[in-house]
Subunit: 301 residues, 2 copies
């Protein structure tokens, strides 16, 4: 077989596609590249199945509109999580889309690597700058040609809208009593980095939020005296991220970090990371991570 075969995504039915990918350096590592790559697969699936080229989508008024990330969840296990894909791994990705109306779409990816799989959920919303130049005032804006009624509807109890609504008010995806504080809350400041945080249309790139969250997690690890090797070896088996705002290149983000452990299993930790515009207190994102810090069977939850 040729080394470089690149089969195009194959349509399985009107709401799902599958593709095979070989992991290359630009899509893996101790960074957010793999999260960004999965995001491209979401856009590709919508381009393939919903009648609109997402890369060039326009509103009826002719303005560019972007299928922005509103909710991103990635679940794996000890053997296969966000940072384990490495050079040469062959992945089989199956993507199913669900109808969320004319302004949103839900994508569920199942990413198989033979030994294990990742499950990824993306809820995206069409947004436009509405004629302005700031990233702080984005508006909903569906593109011309976007078809969605042929897609199945997700049962209401599986909709991430409820989870995001809770996260917005409770500042965690886990508003229960199962977890107890493991260390004092931390706050740090992160100035948006104009040299690496913005995407090709000048928005704060959704994958950069993963890097910013990881920076906060690194700060926590260092504060706990765990060392950078422990950080690099971390096993995040579940990460939920709700995007509530975008930001301009001069924004300084205030990051609040809350660290808890599972009452029943202290080897399971959860970390909540909340991003705000430090100037206006505007909420930018809420993220909850589940970490395995002691050996266990590895699947969560």
């Amino acid at each position: 077989m040729r080394i470089l075969e690149r089969p195009a995504p194959t349509v399985l039915d009107p709401s799902s596609v599958t593709r095979t990918e070989v992991v290359r350096p630009a899509m893996c590592g101790h960074n957010s590249l793999f999260a960004g790559q999965i995001g491209d697969w979401t856009w590709d699936a919508v381009s393939e199945l919903c009648g609109v080229d997402v890369l060039r989508a326009r509103t009826a008024a002719g303005d560019p509109t972007y299928l922005s990330f509103y909710y991103y969840r990635i679940r794996g296990g000890r053997a296969f999580h966000l940072r384990t894909p490495s050079f040469g791994d062959t992945l089989r990705i199956t993507t199913r889309l669900y109808d969320f109306g004319s302004e949103s779409v839900l994508a569920l990816h199942r990413i198989d690597r033979g030994d294990d799989s990742l499950r990824v959920e993306n809820l995206n919303r069409w947004i436009s700058r509405g004629g302005g130049t700031s990233n702080e005032t984005l508006v909903r804006a569906s593109p011309v040609g976007f078809t969605h009624r042929h897609l199945p509807t997700l049962p209401a109890d599986r909709s991430p809208r409820v989870a995001c609504g809770t996260a917005r008010t409770a500042l965690t995806f886990l508003p229960d009593t199962r977890y107890v504080d493991a260390s004092p809350p931390r706050r740090l400041r992160y100035p948006v980095d104009p040299s690496r945080d913005l995407n090709g249309v000048g928005l704060l790139y959704f994958a950069s939020y993963f890097s910013i969250v990881d920076r906060a997690l690194l700060d926590l690890y260092r504060g706990l005296g765990r060392g950078d090797t422990a950080f690099l070896d971390r096993v995040v088996v579940d990460q939920q991220l709700c995007y509530l705002g975008n930001a301009d290149a001069d924004c300084v983000i205030a990051i609040d970090v809350r660290h808890r452990t599972d009452r029943a299993d202290p080897g399971r930790e959860v970390v909540d990371v909340v991003l705000r515009d430090s100037r206006t207190d505007r909420l930018l994102a809420v993220c909850t991570l589940h970490l395995l810090t002691t050996p266990s069977d590895g699947r969560h939850p």
Copy 2:
């Protein structure tokens, strides 16, 4: 035409391939994603033409060996440079390989976008950790199966080895008298960021060097009072980067920045950025950038 056609690279002759790519979010922006993407194309071309799957290459002893970046040059113009590719742009990439012996290979990419083209030169060397775990002691190590004698030889006067040798000693790719100092030299420190700088095999990712250089350039812009918008709008028409060492996650990089202008054309600026391991003074990289800071015809040199 289907939106998602992904034609595989086509072999033009035993030393060259061509491919068409549509720019997606994960391969463009105010970051180093496009430089990383071009690097993947280098690896793909070698995999296609030189008898070895670069992603899974091994030495005769069975150790992984990596086709590491030693020299990376990218040249464009005002309309099309490293940061201009955006969502939906269609690129035609033609890559030619040249024989540099059993331990190296040179790739020349021509990237056409209709309006203009980028020319990229990559000299890569096979390196291995040699059984250790540190990134500071990498050794040359050619993989089993690597064929190169069928590739043409570049005329000696076009070899980047001379340029890199000069850069290593002169700490610039421009050791002439055409440029004059435009502002005092600057020094800053950059701790390698374990949350975003390492690739899928734990090495300091070659594309991260571009980000680190850009961070130094941002520092220069701010020091000159130019503002972040001017930085985001910068036009880098020629960038040469020689990689002289790798580094571990706990490395603090000392960065020296030198800023000069062209005597004959003050609208042409050059910036030299030198990266060293601050602990040992070991040289990690030398980079020279050419910027257009006033409108001109746009091509350089």
